[in-house]
Every structure is written in C-alpha cells, then in structure tokens.
Symmetry: D2
Subunit: 336 residues, 4 copies
C-alpha cells in the first residue's frame, strides 16, 4: 500500500515562454510563422514575439537576434502571487537568484535566476491573456485564436530539454526549488550515470528535461517542443517541412521514454525544434518515476529507426568540442 505522500510543492503552473537566440532572425521567423504557422504578436528591439493558436498567453515564443543560436530566458508561470513569492524566497535562499525585472508583452514583473548549469530562467505570475484581433478571432468561443490552416499549425508550447554537465544536480534543483516532479529517467552503468531526467510541474508528462551534455558545453539547449493534437498532424508536418527543405533530424516516430510521437527539425538559426503529440498525462499523485537502463533504453525508440548520433551530440550553441572521454561509449539517449 502507498506510503503517506510528502505534500508536494505545487507553486509552478506551467512552462510559460521560450526565448530562442538566433543568428538568422529573418529565416527563423519564416520557419516559425510560415512553416509552423505561428503568429507574430509584437516586435521590440532585436526580438519578435510569437504565439501558437491554442496558447492562452499573448506570446509563448520570443525570438531574439544573436551571434549564436541557443536558449535565451526560460519562463515559468507561478500558480498565484503567493506561490511566486514562495519560489523567489527559495531561490534567493539557495543563492541562485538574480533579481526582479519588468516582463514584456503584457507580462508583469518577473524574477530572474539561473539553474546550476547556468541556464537563464525567470518566474512570474501576472500574465495578460491573448485578445485576438478581428482577423484572428476564432469561431470557437473557447479557442484563444483562429486556427488559420497555414502550415503545420502547432497548437501550443509544450516543453523543453536542456543539456547539462551534471544532470543530477540540475534535476535536484528543479525538484527542490521549483517543485518539478520526476517522471522518467535514463540511468546507465548500474544506476550510476544519470543520462537524462524528465520532469513536470503539471499533468503534462514532462515540461522540462535535463540531458547529459557529452561535449561538456555550457548551458546549451537540446530542443524545445510544440504540441499538436493527433499523430496524423505530425506526419503532415513532416511533409510540410520537407517541401520547405527544412532539415529533419529524426522522426516522425515513437519514443519509448514518454511514448511521444516526435519529429525533430532544426530551425534555420540552428536550434532543434520538436513537433510532438501523444505521450500520456500524469494524474496519479504518487506516480512512480520510470527508469530505463542501457538495455531497456535501447535505441531510444519504441519503433522506428534508432536516433542518430547527432541527437546526443548536437545542441545550441553548437560547439566543435569532441565528445568527452568516456562518453563516446555511452549508448544513445533521447531527450524528448
């Protein structure tokens, strides 16, 4: 019978926005707007703000011109002003806080911090809901924006995967300070090497993963991901990506870990973007994390071809560094 559960931290509501640095802002904008079918909602300085048709927030993707591709600031929404205060206190106490800043595009104040690896993040509560202009108003009252039928038509921001030199340390940070719950892990070498950990602060299977950076890079992004409702939509997305000559690295196929139906492409700036469906919701309050060893993990897929080597080596910013000694023996892993 279940042991009494420790009361969990339920202060973070969901992944709120991805900031993506790109050396090719115009081409990246083409990818997200014309190919994936997102809408531009605002432009400010070197940044363009976009949204997917099902996102309730005004913007969930911020594209920022930069010398190198990679992650910008990663945003998490708190469930309440009180929850925001609690998280800020915890981050400050841990010495990871940076401080308050003004939010942009209708967002209230945000508190900035870094994870142990060094990825920049913020947490906020105040958020302006999207108000569609007439030409983007849906005929469905409960849909924030018209489904335009242009391109892939991604529905909403889903999750991201970050590379880290020490997966365990960053995972513990996310669990202890932000309240992420662990969902699945890939652990090799008889339980000694934590290759990847998938976590969530909501019923969504994972909203953030940390995966080993076998090139020992610095605060890199593995990928981030958009949800789409049906597996057929992912297949259609592959057709559209190919017609637009966008590089598809892997998929459409089905992961074993997370059960997700995935498709990974590189947007023109070089960042890996996933189009994603399937997986499963986690509603059990005492969900037991699923762990995979070398044999169980295998090629990282439930069916379909093994993931390519680039999948464990490539991240943004891209680096020329060789795979770290010892890591080259590491079987493939797979951060969905």
């Amino acid at each position: 019978m279940n042991a009494p559960a420790k009361e969990p931290i339920l202060d973070i509501a969901h992944f709120g926005r991805m900031e993506l640095m790109t050396p090719k802002l115009d081409r990246s904008l083409w990818y997200f707007k014309d190919v994936l079918g997102m809408e531009v909602v605002a432009t400010a300085g070197d940044s363009v703000f976009l949204r997917a048709y099902g996102d309730y927030a005004t913007s969930t993707l911020k594209l920022t011109a930069a010398k190198d591709a990679g992650p910008g600031c990663i945003s998490w929404r708190a469930v309440s002003p009180q929850a925001l205060e609690r998280r800020v206190k915890a981050l400050e106490a841990a010495g990871l806080g940076i401080g308050w800043a003004d939010g942009d595009v209708g967002r209230g104040k945000v508190y900035r911090f870094r994870d142990p690896e060094g990825h920049l993040m913020d947490v906020y509560y105040e958020e302006q809901k999207y108000e569609a202009p007439d030409h983007l108003r849906s005929t469905l009252k409960n849909l924030p924006q018209k489904y335009t039928g242009r391109g892939v038509g991604v529905r909403r921001l889903d999750h991201l995967a970050l590379m880290a030199k020490d997966v365990g340390k960053n995972r513990e940070f996310a669990m202890d300070l932000l309240g992420f719950r662990l969902r699945e892990q890939v652990i090799y070498n008889n339980g000694q090497t934590e290759i990847g950990s998938w976590m969530s602060c909501s019923a969504v299977h994972h909203e953030m993963a940390y995966v080993a950076d076998i090139k020992q890079g610095n605060s890199r992004l593995h990928h981030f991901s958009f949800w789409i409702d049906n597996r057929e939509d992912v297949l259609r997305a592959a057709d559209i990506l190919r017609e637009n000559e966008v590089f598809i690295e892997a998929g459409p196929s089905k992961h074993n870990n997370s059960q997700a139906f995935y498709l990974y492409s590189y947007e023109p700036g070089g960042n890996r973007v996933e189009i994603y469906s399937g997986s499963y919701l986690v509603l059990a309050p005492d969900f037991e994390p699923v762990t995979w060893n070398e044999e169980e993990r295998g090629p990282g897929v439930y069916w379909g071809s093994a993931l390519p080597p680039s999948f464990i080596e490539y991240g943004t910013p891209n680096i020329a560094a060789p795979v770290a000694a010892g890591a080259e023996k590491t079987p493939v892993f797979d951060p969905q």
Copy 2:
C-alpha cells in the same frame, strides 16, 4: 492585469472510478470487454471490475448488476492522506458525509458522501497500482498494460456528466467542498438558467459536469467517458460499434463546448458511454470560465449535425416522466 488569485483547493487528484449499474450484466460486460477492449481484473458478488489499458489504477470501472441502469458510486482520488482528511472534514461539516467504508480491489478505505442531488460518491487516497500479469504486460515499460489491439481500445477513464435538478447548487458543492474549478458553462435566459457546468480538479478539461435534468429525475447519469488518443481512433470506434450493432446516439463529431471530438453510444444496459478525444488542457491558474448563451451554444456542435432531442432527455435510470413545463422550450444543450 490579473487580480491576485485566491489560493485554490488542490486536494482532489482525479476521477478514480465509475460504478455503473446495469440490468444486463453479461451484455454490458461484452460491450466493455469485447467491443471497447477493456480487461476484467476481478469479480466480487454482483460486480465485475474492469480497466482500460492506460489506466494506472487496478480498476476504473465497476459494473454492478441491478434492476435499473444508472450511476453507482463515483470515486475521487485525493492527492495525499492529508488532503483526504481535509475533504472528509469539509464534507462532514456540510452535513453531506455518510462515513468510511472499506475500498475494494486493492483500494484502501474510502469516505462516502452524496452530492446535493443525491448521487453517491466517495473519496480515497490509498490505491494499488496495476501489476499486469505476464500475458498483459506491455513491451513499453511506462505503459501499465499491453495494448491488446482488441476492439476500440479505450485508453483511460476520462470524465462523467451527472444530471441534476439544480445545476448551480451541485456545481457550488463541487467547487466549494471538492475544489473543482469551473471551465465552461451553458447559461440561458439572459444568464438566469444554468443549463450545464463543466468542471475539473486537474488539467483535464473537465472531469465532471452537471447538466439540467429536464425530466426532473432523481440522481441520474447523463454519461461517462473514455479517452482515446487520436480523432481517427474515434472514427474507427464508430465502425466497430456499428459492426457490433451498438446504438450510436450522436457523433463522431466535434462539440463547440470543450472542443471535444465525441461519440456517444448506449451500452446494452442502457447507460450512455462516450468515446472521446481532442479537447484541450487547462494549465492557466487563472483560467476564466467560458460561458455560452442560447445563440452561442446553438446546436451544441462546432460542426456536424445538431444533437438529437434524446441527448437532453435521456439519462439513466430512464424515466417515463414528461419534460418539465418550461423546459421544452430550452434549446438543446450538450454535456460532453
């Protein structure tokens, strides 16, 4: 900007089990096992316990032989033992509690109560996770049970809709005492007549709805619902139901309210069962309920034919009573 949110009650994890009364146990069993593709996990007295392949709990459907069709006990899982205690206290204080009982099929003690309409419910925390026997073990480590490929292949229990003579009173009960959050409402007569309210205690769009019983019945069931991953799965389900000569009342089609892709059939005992996909997750902590008036609600569908009159009149147990005076003017509504 958002007003500071009141801290919500987050004590209920999810809809845990549907007990269904049936005057034709054998035929109902055929429907759920052979047509929908569920597995029988236990039998006790007049009851048979079943599960869908993706359910983590041992059993999510209890079929009980009875003179009339209708709802049996409706079960809710608490997020922790402490949460369970809090809910029990609140229910007792409200005078709606019945008392503790032993759970069945690996479930710990349950606390029984009734909603204002009189539907029997319970809340519990201790739950034994399903351990698949060899022939039902999945090749996917994170899937509780093999996907057998038999029949429709419903994935997991999703939600239910209950009929009530006073929708508002029961909605308030669910929100105040159990912590349900309101998602959508159909309100007619310039905001005076609450026709239906859809609520959830999780990110699932709705886990329970109350809809007006226009025949003024007593504690009736409108329907309960199983999730399936893709819209195509719902279309395939329609083919299977027809080949098995199961009555399809409405769908496959798409609701406006909830955006769900639905298919309603009557199991042989007479209860309405939905096969369900699509809809949308609610992750916003300050989600604003969506309301629909007569004009907006229209035929209850986003596309496809209007819902038939039976959809607002029929529930279980079925009653011969006429539609209540005044209610016959009520436009169609649609409890997903």
Copy 3:
C-alpha cells in the same frame, strides 16, 4: 461460377475537369484558392483555371463567371486517340453530339456533347501534363506539384454527381455510350424508382453519379468532389471551413453507399463541394452493383446524423420550384 463477362468498353480514362459557373467569381476563387488550397494556373476571359496539388493535368477546375451557379462543361479524358474516335462515333450515332472545339489551357481538341438530361460534356485525349514553376516544384519527384500546406490541401479532383429528371435514362446513356460501369444504386418502391446510380470508368469507386431531381429542375449539379488522403484530413478541413465561416451542410461523417467519409460545403457561388476520403477501389472485373432499398438506405449514413432535407432538394442552379408531387414521400437519398 461467374458467367462469361461481356467485354467492357474501356475507352474513358477518368474525370478530367469540372467547369463551375459562379455568380461570385472573386469569392469562389477565395474559397478554392485560400480555403481549399488550390493553385491558379491561368486566367482567360471570364474564367480562372485551378488545380489541386496531386493532379497530373495542368488544370482540373475551371471557374467561370455567370449569372447563376451550376455546372459548366464536364470533361472526360479518353485512354487513347483511337478510343476518342470510337466514343465520338458512338455519340454522333446516338444524336447527342455537338461537335469538335478547341481545348483550353494546354488541352487539345475536345468533342462536345450533351447527356439526355442536357448537361454539357466533352471528351478529349490530348492533355498537357503540369510543369510546376520553381516556387511550386515539389521535393518529391513523383508529385506534380508542391504540397504547400495552405488551407485544406485537397489532393485531386475525384468525382461529380448530376441531378436528372430521369436517372435511369441518363445512367444508360453513360453506360452504353461512355462505358461507365455501375457500382451502386438506390432503388425505391420495390425496385421501380431509381433514386440514384453511382458509376465509374476507372477503379475509383464512382466518377459520376446521377441522382433524382425531385424539383424537376433542368440539368442541375448536385455536387463535385475533391479527394484527400486520410479521414483526419477531412476533420481538419471541417475546422478550416468553420474558421472561414463557410457553410457546412453535412458531415464529416460516413456514408453507407460508397463507404466514403464526406464533408459537404457550399462554395460562395452556391455550388455544393465535397471533401472526400475513404470509399473503396473496384478492381473486380465482374463487380456486382450493390443496390439499396428504402430500409437499407435509411438515413444515407453508416453512422452519424441523417442527411438534411436540403441534401435532396438543393442543387445548382437553385430553383424555387416545389418538390414534385409524390417526391415528397421519397425517403432521403444521398449522392456522394
């Protein structure tokens, strides 16, 4: 055992082009181009020529400005020059021929004729294959044109249904003079009233249907249809049509006759257009036509709601005439 088959006429290859008259050319063009995702390939006088991405011919839809909606010239491609000559001789001999004319948009000479009802048709052999300009060239060498991902994305012209005062007479014409093979029929009144007949000159289930015009109109169009590869594509089309406020008359749902998964909308000019998938190929040389009587035909659907009354009354050009005496008792039929 099979009786020796009479050698069939195999002179017509397929349905080649639909000419559609529209009183709202600009709006009709918006519908086919922006909503259905077709491409404009040429403009000449009052006509605009379009194509679907998978059509091998340069153009398969000719939109022509006119006072009333309705069918223009309906084109059939012959399998060879010799076959063309044979058909012309047969049509001339039957007194239904009009004469040779120049084809348009890269099409060679055409021979014009009328069916007994009076619908204008032509037959031709010479046809220029589509050569995509650079911006519409597919990355798939065997696909005539890029799949642009804009709107519904219909793949190819599939079939049409014509209204006739005498279904049998027109069916016999098509079978005897053009070599159509009969696939399915709806026959009421103990085999005495031919309500509709579905025929094809290829493995496609039906390329032309004649259905009873219960208003006794003159040479009207019931609908014409575009193919799309998956049922999910039809569901997605419904979402797109609704977001664009296009009237959906019926579907998405599944016919019993033809097994097709259908969606009927009215383009802005008033003509009924079907988006269509599923059905079945007919490869048997001795296929036995399937007939449906009143009871078998029922509501015209395999599942889903009955077809609406407009489905048997409305055609283009639209006429105010009442339903003919006697016809009002005719159960619904359904020309896919």
Copy 4:
C-alpha cells in the same frame, strides 16, 4: 503534345492471391490471423486460406507449410475469359507456360507459368465472391465482410515485390506478356543498372515490383503488402506489432518512390510483410514513368531514417551467400 498512345494490353485485372511458404505454419497463422486480423476461410492439406476484411474474393492469402520460407504461386486475375485466353496464348508462345490446373477454394481453372527469374505464377478468370457466414456479415451492405476490430485489421491484398537477378528482363516479361504498365524505376550508374521497377495492371500505383537480388539468389520474395486506409492505421499497426514482439525492420515512414506510408515486419516464418497506405492512383493513360538515380533515390525515404542494409539483402528464402561483387557499392534501394 502527347504522342498517340499505343493501345495497351488491358487483360489483367489485379493481383489475386499470394501463396506464402512457411516453415512455421502455426506461428505464421497466428501472425496473419491474430495480429493482422485476417480470417481463415479454408484448410486443405498443408495449406490454410485466409482473407482480409475488404477483399471481394474468398481468399487472397494461401499459407503453405514448407521447409523454407519464400513465395509460392503468385496469382493474377484476368478481366474476362477472352483476356485469359489471350494471355495463355502469349505465355505459351513465349515458352514460359506450364499448363492448366484446377484452382482451389472456389477458384476455377488456372494457367500456370513462370517469369524469367523462375517465380511460379498463374492466371485465372473464374472466381467465387466471398459469402460471409452470419457471424462475419458486415452491417455495411457493400463491404464483403465484417470489420472485426481484431488486431491490425488489414483491408485488402495490395502488391508484391520479387527479387530478380536481372530486373530488366523480368520487367520486360511483365510488360510484354501480362500488360503491366511501368510506374517508377530506380536506375543507377548513369542509367545502366536497373535496380528496381514498379509496375501495375490497374490504377493501383504498383501491383508488382522487381528488385535486384544482390546476393544472386533464386526466385526470391522481397515482400508482399496489405492495404490499410489511413496513415494512422499504420501507426497503430506498429504499436500492435511491438506489443506482440514481431520484428519491425523499417518504418512506419514514407517512401519517396511511390509516396507510400510503409511498415515492414517479418512474419514468424521469415517472410517480409508490408502494411501500407497512402501512395497515389495512376489514372493517366499516358503516365510517364518516374526514374530515380542514386542522388535522387538517396536513402529511399521521403522523410525518416534510411532503410537498413537488410532491406536490400534479405529475402525469402534467406540465403547465406555474400553480396555479389560490385553490388556492395550499390546504394540502398527500396522495393515498396
């Protein structure tokens, strides 16, 4: 403008039946019946006859116990008794005929012959249509058999691919003596090495392919294939195959050649079986075959991972012979 077309031979209607030799009859039967969802219609001697739910013929698959896996007799249905006579005369004249034999399971007399490679084939006209017993009668009048919802649910036999030491010689045989029309070819070394040729005698994209046997085997089978209506059905099939621990060699993914959405598994006897959807119909009477060189062919897929080496080496019967000198440099090809 099109050159006058030579009148084609239109004597073969379609691929009629696959005979498959298997060293594990019981396990092969399990695969086709329980996993793919086919029905057993008869047993005779060492053979079991099966059918897919949409096949109009009584049986389309004959499983025969044998020492080695591989193709048995490959059957083609003629369009008429006269067409049958014409083909027999042509085969006799070419010295490839074997002679008449009695057909089995309701099939009339068959004429046996061999292709130049040596594969055993027959051609026939008389065919008994399937009459479903009560428990397998569909509620759809135009569907030959109930869709049972068991396992994958393949719909109908679609095509096969045969290995040959000389692809060109066998292709010419099929075109000249049986009337197959060429659809696509993979030709390497500046048009000198014919790697594979896909042909059909109907509107189905290809009903037979010949592909190079780079191990110089004798009359081997590459694979044969069943149609299923939607891409989603192929994905579902992959889930079912994995749950049943059937080896998946490649897919689900999309070929460039044929545009098909494919999934290849090995049935327990060792023969490669494809589950197949998508592709495109060929209705143009002057369709121009599409050829692919090394660069265009690439990895054999439109998207998704490259086909594995086994895909060009493995056939049945399996042989230990090394890849022929020179052939090891041959880029991957892909017989759908």
